[in-house]
Subunit: 578 residues, 2 copies
């Protein structure tokens, strides 16, 4: 991974590709790389859809190697949804493919000329760019079918659906999985709109004929990876819960904890949660001939994914994640897994982030557009969004804009981004992360749920403010580092609880690169990434006043615990005191 | 004006009125009063439509007296459009009426209970509050007819149209004029939505049977007012231009100067400007039996208003202001005065700010919803907004949200508020005001056009960056003071050019209150108001990064002068260095 592909979409006669050495960005991967490029090359006060923004797509440091669960792909830019710097990452096969082709990053930059759409094709022989107007307004699944016809299903596809083409603030970048389905998404923050604003519809990455990236020290690498996989398989979450039930195992857990946001964050427990739990979902998947255990890319020891079939045994969508089942389910008072699976497919197809879309529909329900529980109505709304009707333009702009258009206070957002599936009043650690992360409300940026609820990496009472700032700080630092490696965030459960697994992960990086990093170096990398992101945001106009939850979370108690968000402003302001 | 009326809309059983002494706010009026109350009583990080925001309605210090042109009414709150503190002021008769009844302010506060709408009736005997559900979704003109039937046409009405009821970010508070037409508006920043969020549809102010407020020193007051009126009548702008042609006299002036934003700020000169100039408009008004010279309230020496009739001699609307003719006219490529007048009426009727709405339609035209020049299409869009269709919900949220929903960079806004009728590239002083005022893009906050273009109060080259920051600073300070007196901003032309008229104005205040203020005290008041507003905004999360124009104004040259906005960030940051 010693080269960067730059695509100048403003070049005369259409986008031009230039391959250059990785240069000053050497040694960086994933989020560390996307954040570095955006920090250095994008003016913080630029418009996210203007010519000065850039889209940076970067495999992690370990992507393309034999390291288990290392297939995360980072996408960075200034976010059209939040106005902050943004890193959204995705599973699927593209990260490994880019790594094997030797690309540390693809950077799409410049001012789009005219209205043509383009496709970038990358393989071992180089890069080609061609017009892709035939693909205009194709949803992701339909696009994948077209690509498959020409390139087969062994390539990887990075694409935008209709949402990205329409430059909607809720729009994803899709990545195909092992079955060449565009089911994996860099979901949050509207990164698809930036790709759309550059006129790039698709990137085909063909790594056929290339070899896995070779470690500097093969023996050490093999041994580290063995211990690492052993650690993943030995931990209750990564070795049992996630493979068996996927992330949706959390539904019952969060509902029991009273931290499951229900009816647009009005209550903390959903009476029908048992109908949409991971246990029920896995059982249904197995019965219908889908899969309850499945990997989103090759070489993952966790296998948290799955395949969801309808009652006739036909593919509907990949196994909907916990956050999706929550967003379209309990948050909207919908308790029918088939409807939720259909919504998941529609989101993936049009290219919407399921969290943002589900929360947006919850806000629309509060505005009275449709009733809570109306599953058909919810599908109609997603269809409007995917087709860009006037109402769809509102919904496609996300939960904050929807609330603004309908004159509502109750938009559960931070920095314009919808809160995920954990109520910050009853899981206060994640509330601190929502408030303070550089990304807008985001659970993955510092997953305090692990320690608050799952008791991984310690035990901090979720209902009390004490200790939450420190917990979130440490997790945000660790996550920023982890997001740079290409390793999936889910390894965190094992490495937080098992020092030997953490060491095996560090050893694997050292063996890959011939380095002698320590755990401390990992922490320093995380801090460095966060500092760059904070600085970008500050220059873009963000202050501590934006590191807050909406005031109604401090005003309206959440049942059943009747708690408000009461972590003090001072505590929130201490999160970045490193 | 020694009492304040507080309406608690959260009281059990419906809104409750409480009259209290003016207390700590003694000696303040207009913007100084609204800003003081909002600064002291509204948490800067609250949601503008939530229970913690307050709506403050305050006559100026001189309102209700015999002082000429002193009928401005200030409305303050946290703005639903910008998120900043907001003061929007209006002409019409209500300010004088409130002053004569002795109210320094009406403060509407608390959390609305249920969905009932209410009307407040104020007269010499006290305050009554009654349900007003029959008025639900009545546009302002229809509402005024209903009020007239019951109260006659000698009262004043302060009301919201459908936009305010729907809590749209572009929504005004209307004030009736001398003919009891709701043609005067506290237009900017969505103040109508705050009134709507409190469930108050209308305030009827009946000052019949009350006397004019008496000055502390009647002889000095009479003499000061005589000199003041003499000064207004003697100045070319206030004595000739404005009475004869109204504000629309500026169309030819700005177009000639190349600072007339055309086609959504794409060009600086409009080829059909001569068809919509103030000269043509006044001529048409006179020919059709309307009025080219008219006062929005009694006792105004300037008489800048007018009455616009259709070709059959029927009332259409009050004389559309320059900014309205521009927003719906040149900015949208529409050069038909009858269409523009109709749009002005529709805006007043639904309760939309004409600047925000015209700029929003310009953005919608750039998005391809309708073509530039499509006058019928523009009326259709305003109708959609006034009726709250899905597309109308986008448009009613203003230009910034419309651009966001349609994925466009080119939204001419600062802090979420649309720029008025002066291109900041060719009139750089007003560009500094747009960028730095506490209010979001607003020409009235520091009308540098006066000095840049009209050569009033000096001469600063509009095309060069030099001197603009100082100019804007001084004007912003003076304006903040002036907005507190109840005097119309238009007196500024005379008091900037004629020291004796400035002195007469100060003398009139001294004679009214038995004070011995100097010009310096006026400046200090202006600084104090601005400091409070800046502090509120800082606590709400605004930084110098928000005191900027959108970057495309520094990137895209404006014809015919081919200039970009090139006042440096350093200069912009120096505006508030007092």
């Amino acid at each position: 991974m010693d080269k960067i592909l730059r695509i100048d979409v403003g070049a005369a006669g259409g986008p031009k590709a230039k391959v250059e050495p990785v240069g000053e960005y050497t040694g960086l991967g994933g989020r560390a790389l996307t954040t570095s490029v955006v920090s250095k090359e994008v003016p913080p006060d630029c418009h996210p859809l203007g010519p000065e923004n850039k889209l940076v797509i970067a495999p992690g440091l370990m992507s393309g190697s034999a390291a288990s669960s290392s297939g995360r792909l980072s996408v960075g830019c200034k976010s059209p949804l939040t106005g902050t710097i943004k890193e959204a990452n995705s599973g699927g096969t593209a990260s490994q493919a880019l790594g094997r082709l030797g690309y540390a990053a693809v950077i799409i930059e410049g001012e789009r000329q005219g209205d043509d759409l383009y496709m970038i094709v990358m393989d071992g022989s180089g890069v080609k760019i061609e017009k892709a107007n035939d693909f205009r307004m194709l949803p992701n699944y339909d696009l994948a079918e077209k690509i498959k016809t020409r390139f087969g299903d062994k390539v990887s596809l990075i694409s935008i659906g209709t949402a990205g083409e329409m430059r909607m603030a809720n729009s994803t970048i899709a990545v195909t999985d092992v079955e060449f389905r565009p089911s994996r998404h860099a979901g949050r923050g509207g990164v698809g709109a930036v790709m759309g604003s550059k006129g790039i519809k698709a990137i085909v990455v063909n790594a056929e004929g290339t070899k896995m990236r070779q470690p500097a020290n093969p023996d050490k690498f093999k041994e580290a990876n063995r211990k690492f996989v052993e650690g993943l398989k030995g931990h209750a979450v990564t070795g049992q819960g996630l493979p068996a039930y996927g992330t949706n195992i959390l539904t019952n857990v969060l509902n029991e904890a009273g931290g499951y946001p229900t009816y647009n964050f009005k209550e903390g427990r959903y009476k029908h949660a048992d109908k949409i739990s991971g246990e029920v979902q896995a059982d249904l998947e197995t019965k219908r001939g889908g899969l309850a255990t499945h990997g989103c890319h090759r070489g993952c020891a966790i296998q948290c994914s799955g395949v969801y079939h309808d009652k006739d045994g036909h593919y509907v969508t990949k196994q909907p994640e916990y956050e999706t089942v929550w967003a379209h389910g309990g948050n909207c008072g919908i308790c029918d897994l088939d409807s939720i699976a259909r919504l998941d497919f529609m989101d993936d197809n049009y290219g919407f982030d399921t969290i943002e879309m589900g929360v947006t529909i919850g806000v629309a329900m509060e505005a009275g557009l449709i009733k809570f529980g109306d599953a058909e109505g919810a599908q109609r709304l997603v269809d409007e969004a995917g087709k860009g009707t006037p109402l769809g333009r509102i919904l496609g702009a996300g939960a904050a804009v929807t609330a603004k258009c309908f004159g509502l206070e109750r938009a559960p957002v931070v920095k314009g981004q919808a809160m995920p599936a954990y109520d910050p009043r009853a899981v206060k650690g994640i509330g601190v992360t929502y408030a303070t992360t550089t990304q807008g409300a985001d659970h993955t940026a510092g997953y305090a749920v692990a320690t608050n609820i799952l008791k991984v990496g310690g035990d901090v009472d979720p209902l009390k403010p004490a200790g939450q700032a420190e917990l979130s700080r440490n997790l945000q630092i660790a996550t920023a580092a982890l997001d740079s490696t290409g390793y999936c965030l889910f390894i965190a459960f094992a490495i937080l609880d098992q020092p030997e697994t953490f060491q095996a992960m560090v050893d694997s990086i050292n063996a890959m690169y011939g380095l002698e990093l320590t755990g401390n170096d990992v922490v320093e990398l995380g801090k460095k990434v966060l500092r760059m992101e904070r600085q970008f945001n500050e220059q873009a106009g963000f202050t501590k006043a934006h590191d807050r939850l909406p005031r109604y979370f401090s005003r309206e108690p959440l049942a059943p615990h009747n708690v408000v968000f009461d972590v003090s402003d001072k505590e929130l302001d201490s999160v970045f005191n490193f």
